[in-house]
Structures are given as structure tokens and as C-alpha cells.
């Protein structure tokens, strides 16, 4: 489902060339729940942004369902981010003046789903991440961190993506909420056959994934 082939990301800092991702290759089957472990600054988030088409690789190929996203034009990358990818950010990145439900409805609006249908599906997704109905209409900036992360996961699922990329999804959460999120992601991978790749330095989370990779100095190895 996902093939990463010799991906390099480099940039210049003064007279030095830095390569946070340096020849990374791996592949994941559909429905795999995988984790990339590494220390801070090891290039985990950079790799995730390349897979999620938030950034462009300097070289190498990222192939999702036989489509090489490294060569896609901007317009098709927008469609890829909208239809094929669900991104969960460490800091949630919800739109603060929209309600939880409106945040979940946003990707569906961009996909052209009718208002009635996206309202219904957003409610279902929020229920699925165990956010009570009374919280659906609450503004995102008035929700707790755990609730915001659940809304972010619901938003990532809005358009039924093939691949969910999660950047430190439990990094800002207490243990109990973190476990709830991990269980939710596992259920998505195994129940709905959604491929999930999380980057984390949380070994408890990594222990519950199907496959674990370690990223160090820009290079990846499977643990």
C-alpha cells in the first residue's frame, strides 16, 4: 500500500547541507499499524510530512497505491491530501473558532460532500472517538487536550483515507487518554483496514503496533 524508496530530504544551513531524511526506504501493507521511533531531531516529523505531501522530498519516491506522489503536480497533491491521507498533528491543529463538529466537517466540505451528509458523518465520527454529543458543538479551543486530539483523529478519518499519519498523537496527553487514543488507532487499523503510521518516542505506544521502525541520523531500520 505504501512504498518509500530511497527518500532524501536535504536543506542548507549556512555552508552545511543537512539531511534529516537520508535514503529512507520501507513499505507497509494495508491495515498495518506501524510506528517510527526516534529521538527528538532524528527526522521523524520530516519523514511524516514527506509521506503526507506536506513537503517535497529532495529525491526518492513515495508511492501510495501505485501512485508516485513525489511527481504529482500541486493540484493533484491537494486531492491526495484531501482524499487519501488523514493527518493527526501533535498539537492537534484544530480551527479554534469552529466547533468540534465543524472541524470534522471541514475535509468533507473540501471534498464536496453535501451539508446534511457531512453533518451526519461528523457526528458519527465524534461518537466513534467517544466524544459526547454535548461536546460536538463546543468550540475547539474550549476542549481539553485529550478531547482535541480525539476531534483531530475524527477529522483525519472524515474522508475515509487509505493512510493515517499521526505525529506524536499521545505526546501531549495523560496516560489514560493516551491509551484510549492508541486503542482507537489499533481498532481503525485492524477493524477498518486503514494503514496507520505514527511517529513517536513513546515506547508504550510503539509496543502496541504491528511494526516498529527506528530512525536515527536520517536513516531507518526496522526494530
Amino acid at each position: 500500500m505504501l512504498q518509500v524508496k530511497d527518500v532524501v530530504k536535504s536543506f542548507n544551513s549556512g555552508d552545511r547541507t543537512i539531511k534529516p531524511v537520508n535514503g529512507v526506504s520501507f513499505s507497509l501493507e494495508q491495515g498495518t499499524f506501524a510506528a517510527i521511533l526516534g529521538k527528538s531531531g532524528s527526522g521523524k516529523s520530516t519523514l511524516l510530512s514527506l509521506l503526507g505531501a506536506l513537503d517535497k522530498a529532495t529525491s526518492g519516491d513515495v508511492i501510495v497505491d501505485d501512485v508516485n506522489i513525489s511527481t504529482l503536480p500541486d493540484r493533484k497533491l491537494t486531492a491526495y491530501r484531501r482524499d487519501d491521507i488523514g493527518f493527526v498533528f501533535q498539537s492537534y491543529n484544530l480551527i479554534p473558532n469552529l466547533s468540534a463538529k465543524e472541524n470534522v466537517m471541514l475535509p468533507m466540505e473540501f471534498a464536496g460532500v453535501s451539508h446534511g451528509e457531512r453533518s451526519k458523518r461528523a457526528a458519527e465520527l465524534l461518537n466513534q472517538v467517544e466524544l459526547t454529543e454535548e461536546m460536538h458543538g463546543r468550540l475547539a479551543n474550549r476542549l481539553s487536550g485529550g478531547m482535541q486530539q480525539r476531534v483531530a483523529i475524527a477529522r483525519a478519518l472524515a474522508n475515509n483515507p487509505k493512510l493515517i499519519l499521526a505525529d506524536e498523537p499521545t505526546g501531549n496527553l495523560d496516560d489514560e487518554t493516551g491509551e484510549l487514543i492508541i486503542a482507537l488507532l489499533r481498532q481503525l487499523a485492524h477493524g477498518k483496514k486503514t494503514t496507520i503510521l505514527v511517529v513517536t518516542h513513546d515506547h508504550a505506544l510503539a509496543a502496541q503496533t504491528d511494526r516498529k521502525f527506528r530512525l536515527a541520523r536520517g536513516q531507518i531500520t526496522e526494530a
Partner: protein, 483 residues
Amino acid sequence: MGVVSRSVGNAFRNKVRSGAVVVILAVAIGLALAMLVANQAVGAKVDSLKASVGNNLTVNPAGSRGGLGGGNPLTTADATKAAAVAHVTGVNGTLTVRLANAATASTSGSAGGPADRGGAAGRFGSSGTTSLVSAVQPGVLGQRNNGTGSTGSPTGGTAGGTTQPTFTIPIQATGVSSPTTAAGTALKLTGGAQLSDFAANSTQALVGSTLAAKNSLKVGSTFTVQTRTMKVTGIFDAGDAFDNNGIYLPLAATQTLVDQAGQLSSLNVVVDSIENVAATQAALTTALGASNVDVTAGSNNLQSAITSLGTVQNISLIAFIASLVTAGLIVLLIMIMVVRERRREIGVLKAIGASNRTIGVQFTLEALVLVVLGTVVGAVVAAFSSNPIVSALVAGNTGSTVSAAGPVRGGGFGGGGFGGGGFTRTRGAFAGASQLIGTISTSVGWQTLVLGAVGILAIAAIGALIPALLTARVRPIEVLRGE
């Protein structure tokens, strides 16, 4: 929630800032609309001047202007000759005479003979008598130097030991052959109806408002001219006390009453187009005799008035564009600020699948919400400020006070009394540009609003689109990384 409702909500995320932006925009947009209104009002005035004065020529007996004497009176034969001149489309002859109060004339015993349009004058230069009492008092200036150089008083005085008779201002009667003034414009009636019977035995009369008030006349009241009893068909308002101290009578009746059959004071000649005015002026002078008549064109003053108004139009146009650009810059700067503040949000929107177009539309709609509110408030500002702005612009560039409403008139008499001869005021010929401009009225019509709003919204859309699209073009990670 769609992009429209989201944009409306976003526009008021920061209520204090949005309120301040709306106020600033309202001032700029209000000024832009006021300038647009001024531009259109002045443009309409130019068209109106060209239509009403531009094609008119005034023919007077040679030297009669200014009340300093003149040659032979014009006749209906002159009117016929004038009508035959090329490019002339209409000739309107008038006879203006002065009527002394019958009671005063009998006591002074020295009412002068026919003296209109110059020539030998009697003491008061009147052509006949009327039962009406003048509503205008001559005052000190009117009594001064009345024949001897001494200063009298309204009730009589002495000069060199000789008792002077009490001076009263005669009443001006204008004979017309159609319901118009000598300048060819319709009289503004405050009551009653225009003249309709123009026969020699007609008894219809229009009376000026101050004269009517002085003599307690209403529509249907009667008064006498010479021996004929005239009936008031209408009360007119010519714009000032002096003009409103006059009466309008049918031309033929006037000629009969003052025994000036076939005589005219002036001719108002209408030319087919403003381009032919100069040639027709020369042709009329030739046809009627250069030593017999003076032919004057309102277009000299018109040109001056149009030039002055053209300056005002240019100023208002430049100010409109400047205000529009200012409004656009305000929107641009505000949106640059808003977009910079919300770079992270734009990155998130892109990360979850928003296209550049969607982001551009959202931010443009946000700006338009503020601009629409600014336009509504600005329209109110424009409604209240456009008249004073036009007044200031016109007064500053023409020396005219736009509130000086009233008919165009010539000069022709000084402040030192009337004893020397006729003082018939010839209309049109000596009118200054500022008098010609008169009143300019402004109105904020829906067309003006639509035109202004479309311009403002277009500028606002550009001002909002530029920063939004510039930010939307960047890769999501570039705006997310910096947070």
C-alpha cells in the same frame, strides 16, 4: 457550515479590530462615494448648463445694457428677421417696462414718459401706473444723489434747499409671449397657474411672491395696470426679493397697456447647437444691424463656468480614485496582517485538503464582509457629506456659492439711485460664471451606489486575494513548521 458562513464568522473573530476596520473603511468609502456623487452632480450641471444656456443668444437694443441709455427699441420685425437667420430654432421676445404706483405718481406729478431700455428718462423712468405698491424700499442708497447729489431719505429730503419728492422703486412688468422668463426658462410658481391667454386684451398676470405679500394678493385677486383690471393667475418665486417685486403679463397686453405696440426690450434666440452659437451671433448682428443691436452669448460665461466645473469634476474624480485606492490599501494591509496571523490555519487547511482557490475565496469573502459593512456605513456618510463637499469644491474653484439659487441675471444698475434713466436688467448677457452655475444639487442614487460599490468590492477582492493566494501557494509544512 459552508465557506460563506465560515467567512462571516471569521470576519468577526476579533470584534474590536473588525469594528475599527469597518470605521476606517467607512470613512474612505464614504469619501469615495461622496466624490463620485460630486462628480456626477457636477457633470449633470454641465449638461444642464449646456442645454439651457449654451444655445441661447440675447439681442438688446444697442447700448441699452447696464441701464446707460440705448438706441431704438426692438420690434416684432426684428424678431421675424432673427427667426430667419440660419441655425436659429426659436425666438422669444419680451417687453420689460416699469410701472409706478398710481397714487405716488399722481402726488409727485412728475412720472416720466417712456424710458425703458435707455433713452431720455423721467424722474422715475416709469412707463405706466399700477395699483400695486412696491415691496422694495429704496433705502438710503436709493435716495442719494437723486438728481442733485444730495442724500435724501425714504420719506423725502432736501437738496440745495429744494424739496425732493419721495422716491419709490417702480415695479418691473415683463411681457412674455410664452410661459417663460426672458432667459427662456420656466418660472417657478408657488401657487396658481402659468399664463395661458396671450391676447392683447388678456387680463392674466403672474405676481412675484414679495409683491403679492406686500399687496395682500392671492391667486384670483385683482389689481390694475393703467386702467385695466388684471387678475392674478399665479404667484412666482424668482429667487430674490428684487425679482419677486415684479409681475409677468402677456406680451401683447403689455404692449397695448403702455402704448408700445410692436416694441420689444430683448430677444432670446435659441440656436440649434452650441457649436453654431458664434456663427449665429455674427449672422444676427449682421441681419439686425451692428449699430442697432447688441447680440450677446451666454456661452462666454458658459465656457468659463464649464471650465470651472471641469476642474471640480477632475478634482472629484481624482479624489474618488484616491479614496478607492486608499480603501483598497486598507483592505490589503488588513488582510496581509490577518493572513500572517493565520498562516498556521492556512497550513492546516491545506494539510486537510483545501485548495488554493478555496483558501483564496474564504479570505476574500472575509474581506468583503468588512467592506460591505464599510460601504453601508460609508453610504450614510456620503449621503450627509456629499452636499457640503460639493459646495466647498465648487465655491473653491468658481467663487460661486452653490446655495445662491435663482435665475441668471445681468448687472446693469449701481447703488446710486435710478434717476438717470432706465435700469432694465437684461438677463443672461452679463451673467457671471458663478451666477450661471447657481445651485448644484447632489443625490445618492442607486446607480451611483452600485457603481461605487462595484469599484470598492473589486478593489477589496484584489486586496484580499493577493495575500491569501501568496500564502496559500506555499507548502503546508513551511507555515506549520514555524509554529
